[in-house]
Symmetry: C2
Subunit: 444 residues, 2 copies
């Protein structure tokens, strides 16, 4: 081994030069990273053989007290200056946004030959393939553990710990806000809008919640996971995305009755039609371990041909968990670790083509609100039959001549396209009020 002889003697000697970090963006996460590096400096140095030291920062308000001494640090008005700062070895991008300064900073750091650590899932979801290629051509590390599932070391697990596996499926609870809302709705029986308003008051949801509750954030993370798990270019645009706005307390009740729990999952897997990628609410059997991941926790499941099923759970957001992941990336860089950005060299990634959602196969839960009149169920059943959808159960608990009553149908495994045709026909039936609610049942 060429590098064995000096492995510990040089890297872990006290003489090793510190790794100098430039931080762009000093919000919750950036402040958390600076504090962690200061408070745990000795422990981190013992573990990675070098001190990790913040030498430069670009952030909006210089004066703000962040509970950490930054008096000796160089400040830059323009974050992009960090790429050129000779006292910066590694650029930490915590500005956010899928374009603009964040992207320019990363591109310039790569050009300058400086390793980059980022927590920016939106940017990676949209530009990850190009950035990976640029980084590898320049021989520069681009690390992003914090971009997916916060503090859970899931990128490391997929890219290194499970690297001996051909992964067949990867899925997860990738958005803590949605999981918190769904957990709370189930426990309290309250409706979405009500729980969302509370979550916003408590800081678990943003003022503009659409990024989270419409599934976009989860889709960004899924795009990254899919690329790393299957060795493909990212294909964010190809992901079928549904959020949780249409989930009602009634559906959560029926789910429990049927032995399921409703979770927003991001799912990617090999199918006969290629890799499928989808983000939507799912009914999960109660005996699946991921059904018990509640509140703001995230979870990522991977199925490998050798290892079988592995599930990782932990906090997906927040200053502490995100800083934990960011600093782990810095420590890998301090140790000289490197692996292809997306698992295999970016030039050799397969094209990022996602299987059409119409070819998805699975079981379905459908809830209709119908005027209880003779022949309705027969019309519904005919719509399913004509589209080759096989019903598993029909549940009509209440009868009421004056108000629409819920009819809940579950189906056997069927193709999405046929299901959508059936639903369109059912939605047009005069007795059917409201849009039919459809939730996919996942056999985990």
């Amino acid at each position: 081994m060429s590098n064995s002889n000096t492995l510990y003697s040089s890297a872990y000697s006290s003489a090793a030069a510190p790794l100098r970090i430039g931080i762009a963006g000093l919000g919750t996460v950036g402040g958390g990273v600076a504090k962690l590096l200061e408070q745990q400096g000795d422990l981190l140095a013992a573990r990675c053989g070098r001190r990790i030291q913040v030498t430069a920062i670009s952030a909006r308000s210089r004066g703000k007290d962040r509970g950490v001494d930054l008096s000796a640090v160089r400040w830059h008005e323009d974050a992009r200056a960090l790429a050129a700062d000779p006292e910066v070895d590694v650029v930490l991008e915590l500005i956010g946004g899928s374009d603009g300064v964040a992207k320019e900073l990363i591109e310039q750091a790569i050009k300058a030959g400086k390793p980059v650590v980022t927590a920016n899932k939106a940017l990676l979801a949209l530009h990850g393939t190009a950035l990976a290629k640029a980084a590898e051509q320049a021989g520069v590390i681009l690390a992003y553990e914090a971009a997916v599932a916060g503090g859970i070391p899931v990128i490391k697990a997929l890219r290194e710990g499970l690297a001996a596996n051909d992964v067949r499926r990867v899925y997860g609870i990738l958005n803590g806000t949605c999981n918190y809302i769904l957990s709370t709705m189930r426990e309290s029986g309250r409706e979405f809008a009500d729980v969302l308003a509370d979550a916003q008051k408590m800081g678990y949801a943003e003022a503009d919640p659409s990024f989270d509750v419409d599934g976009i954030d989860a889709a960004h993370k899924l795009a990254i996971l899919t690329s790393v798990a299957f060795g493909r270019e990212l294909d964010f645009q190809g992901i079928h995305v549904e959020g949780i706005r249409h989930i009602s307390a009634l559906d959560l009740q029926f789910a429990e009755q049927l032995g399921y729990r409703i979770k927003l999952l991001g799912i990617a897997g090999r199918t006969d039609h290629g890799i499928e990628q989808r983000v939507h609410p799912c009914m999960i059997p109660l005996d699946a371990p991921i059904a018990h991941v509640e509140g703001v926790f995230n979870a990522v499941f991977a199925e490998g041909d050798s290892v079988g099923n592995v599930l990782l759970t932990g906090r997906g957001a927040g200053a502490g968990p995100t800083a934990s992941a960011v600093v782990a990336d810095l420590m890998d860089i301090a140790r000289g670790h490197h692996a292809p950005v997306l698992g295999i060299p970016a030039e050799r990634l397969a094209p990022g083509e996602t299987a059409p959602m119409g070819r998805h196969r699975g079981a379905y839960y459908i809830r209709l609100m119908v005027h209880d009149q003779p022949g309705v169920i027969a019309d519904v059943a005919a719509a399913f039959r004509d589209n080759e959808v096989s019903m598993e159960s029909v549940l009509q608990q209440a009868r009421d001549a004056s108000e629409p009553v819920p009819v809940v149908i579950t189906t056997h495994e069927t193709e999405e396209a046929g299901m959508m045709r059936a639903i369109a026909r059912i939605a047009a039936l005069p007795a059917v009020q409201e849009s039919p609610r459809l939730i996919r049942i996942e056999a985990l």
Copy 2:
């Protein structure tokens, strides 16, 4: 960054020399590793930048068909010869046993400057500190992901993914045989001996099961986890170890009734008296995610000061999961990754002193079999009171003049030493039949 420029250009070029592996021991795991390296050769090379190639083997029966072509491989009668074989870059020790040939092979490989990968938890539990020191002095990697929790990348998670954290507690379901037996006992209502016999028939338990069911295997793994999590020398001897032989179907019933599930856990954590290390059956609240890890699955939980709670679950044994972990170690070596064997340089590990079990604080479940006569509960209560143990609940469901009936007591948090004195006094009461059964209640 000194190594950035050649990062991908050299390591991931087709010209990179293969990493040549010598395997000692070709049983289930060794055969699995050889097969995995052959079948996934291209994928592994894409991921780690070099081919990994088995060039030498030492195993008992050369002729046996292992489903993989080993005709071009060099065979050694004596495993120790692998250390000296010039066509071996890395030695893979899969012989097992805490001393003898396995230990000598590893020592000789280290002396020869060759990285070692092993799945040998018994050897590491007893000699891990010395081997880590020897390896680091020689500048040689000693990797052992497969030694703890099989396919779950838990060593990587602790040593790298969560390396930014000061870990406060680590615990897990570390023995799949025990977890399978306890799960099956609970589901079927059958007794330990009966379920064990079945597990032996199905190959889930060894003919001599004591290593597993008496908690020794779990303790080996806990010793390693404790060292890595807390930066201390291994202290296997200091672990308090109890197995699952004394768990009865009755206790599993009472546990469910009280809202608990019984699991054999290995637990290590910071206390006022130092690091405690213990392996014993625990009552776990049903809302703890680890309570839902059933059958042969393992799980490891870590609590870090930044990341919070992280839980990893997966298969803890078997050819596939173990080979997955072994090959991941080989890929790290192929990539040139290295980290201190036990998380920080071995010369700087704290002494491996374990807090005395008598100082452990926790809540307890006690089941007595008593002749139902006036004054028994008063005598029991007095024994607790005199030892400053505060009872939380007393349950005496059945009354029978002719046969002993179960009395179940739970206590508030108390010190183990006082509890043991109370139990000794209670055991001596004339009305108390059988030894009192004690199971610790864990507040997870």
